[in-house]
Amino acid sequence: MSLKSLTKPWQPMSYGFLDASAKRELRRKMLKSVAVPGCQMPYASREVPMARGWGTGGLQVSLTLLNPQLRVKVIDQGADDSVNAASIRRFLALVSGAPVTLDTLGADLIQSRHRIPEEIMREDQILVLQVPNPEPLRSVQPNMSIARQMHADADYGRMWLQLYEQIVRSGRVMQGAGYPSLVNGRHVMTPSPIPRWDVPKLNMAKHLTILSAGREKRIFAVPPYTRVKPLVFDDVPYRVEDHGGLTCSRSTAKGFFMNEIPQVDGSSTYEVSDSSYGVKTIQKRDGDAVQFGETWYNDGEMTQ
């Protein structure tokens, strides 16, 4: 018996970069997180050729889910063309042979940092959100083992107190990105630093959302058709950013989440944050045949 007969044939790299056991770990933890919506599952986060804190959690989930047929879209704060989004997209394509796209409608898998696209996602699509800080209780309970006990007991009094304090001090809830939300009536999660504008999109969404923090080694999920309710007092309504009335200065798209571009004279112009949606609007204006999906917001109002 030779040593060679006992070893597997040499391969330059595993398919999709991660080795089989790393993927198995991720698949198991994804299944667990789908089984208990909003509950953070610890996982063995691997090294990937990118610094922790730059989307390594999302990247590992995407690498595990990929196959040569799955069409991938990567966005960073709404934009497909930021350096980070472009590098991740190229890397995913390189190690899996998966086709890529910029169009939300054409994507099977969307990895995103800090935004959910404006076009409504379908049942056959998966959204992977990169998460910097998965623990919503961190600001009220720095001791993580106590925080975990609080999740187990659904002990969210301190979280509510934080909102109370904000209203007392500032007259309104100051929490912007990552608004704490109750998933399926049980676990409070941070929906990653998406703006308040995007949180209602998760409620009873048709698509699966997987949230993954590579540095913090936590995965959690919002399965399709799951209740996601931002924590709000009965008599202080949830408010999204005041972007409904704004118009994109480049594409003239109106009623979506905008990026503010400060001008030299002190004023601001706005550009639609979902860059692919903006590009499609411009293409349509130029007479190209483009397809638009239904959007979550119409004229700045949530449709459902």
Binding site: L161, Y164, R169, D235
Partner: protein, 265 residues
């Protein structure tokens, strides 16, 4: 029911609190030895004793913050039964959060010093499930008013308040949910004598208006004499004597109690 202490037979009401044969050791320190206590609905039980006699330990047991080595604890309430020391963590937390109020000697234990005072009170209500901001504020305000806290400082953080005001915030927090049992661990120790008198007045008034059952710990006999109906004297983890306040103060039986009372007079 088995008899716990030689409770006077004339008392016909059932005790609200029954603590029986509690033992607690911290390593080689015997903090509590076979301690039993009864508290009747609406009465104020005072606990006196020298430093280290186990008063705070007993109160922490009653607040279910700690489990004794042996012994039992029951509360005569419609929604709780059995030995409370055997409840799991979650059930304990819910019971303490809704039915038992506590005021600690050190406000740092009982309060979030950098949150607003009203928020400290509101937290109790939030834990109990109140989700209307207007109701939270109204209830926090009325609890603070009942403990005679100056309402213009409603949203000031305790760290900016005087010791007496901090104790009033703790008291408001403790009574916000109309607790079945109010525990007070040296609520006036460390306060200026005149402030101490004012806080005691508030306690007495609350007791008269709401008939809250209270257990108050103090090493100050004067405090106990002012507010308590019955008193329990502790020494080195043991109850040496218990009885009506007047009885104990006028005719102490145990040598240690005699010493205490005479030193005071």
């Amino acid at each position: 029911m088995t008899r716990v202490m030689d409770a006077p037979r004339i008392v016909t009401t059932k005790p609200l609190v029954v603590v029986r044969n509690v033992d607690k050791n911290y390593g080689s320190v015997q903090a509590l030895r076979q301690v039993s206590a009864l508290v009747y609905p609406g009465e104020v039980l005072g606990i006196v004793g020298e430093s280290g006699s186990g008063k705070s330990t007993l109160l922490r047991m009653m607040n279910l913050e700690e489990t004794p080595d042996s012994g039992s604890y029951t509360l005569d309430l419609s929604d709780v039964s059995g030995n409370l020391f055997e409840l799991d963590r979650f059930a304990r937390r819910m019971l303490c959060a809704t039915r038992i109020g506590i005021v600690y000697q050190n406000p740092h234990h009982g309060l979030l010093m950098r949150h607003s005072s009203s928020g400290n009170v509101a937290e109790r209500l939030l834990v109990a499930g109140e989700r209307s901001f207007a109701t939270l504020r109204a209830k926090a305000k009325s609890a603070l008013a009942a403990s005679e806290f100056p309402l213009e400082r409603l949203d000031a953080p305790p760290i900016e308040l005087s010791g007496g005001m901090q104790q009033r915030v703790q008291l408001a927090k403790a009574i916000a949910l109309e607790p079945a049992l109010l525990l007070l661990d040296e609520p006036t120790t460390g306060l200026d004598v005149s402030v101490q008198a004012l806080v005691l007045d508030t306690l007495k008034r609350l007791q008269q208006e709401r008939q809250i059952t209270m257990v108050i710990v103090s090493h100050d006999l004067g405090v106990i004499r002012t507010v308590a109906d019955r008193v329990m004297v502790m020494r080195r983890g043991e109850v040496v004597e218990a009885g009506l306040v007047d009885q104990i103060f006028q005719d102490p039986q145990h040598a240690y109690t005699q010493q205490l009372v005479h030193a005071k007079l």
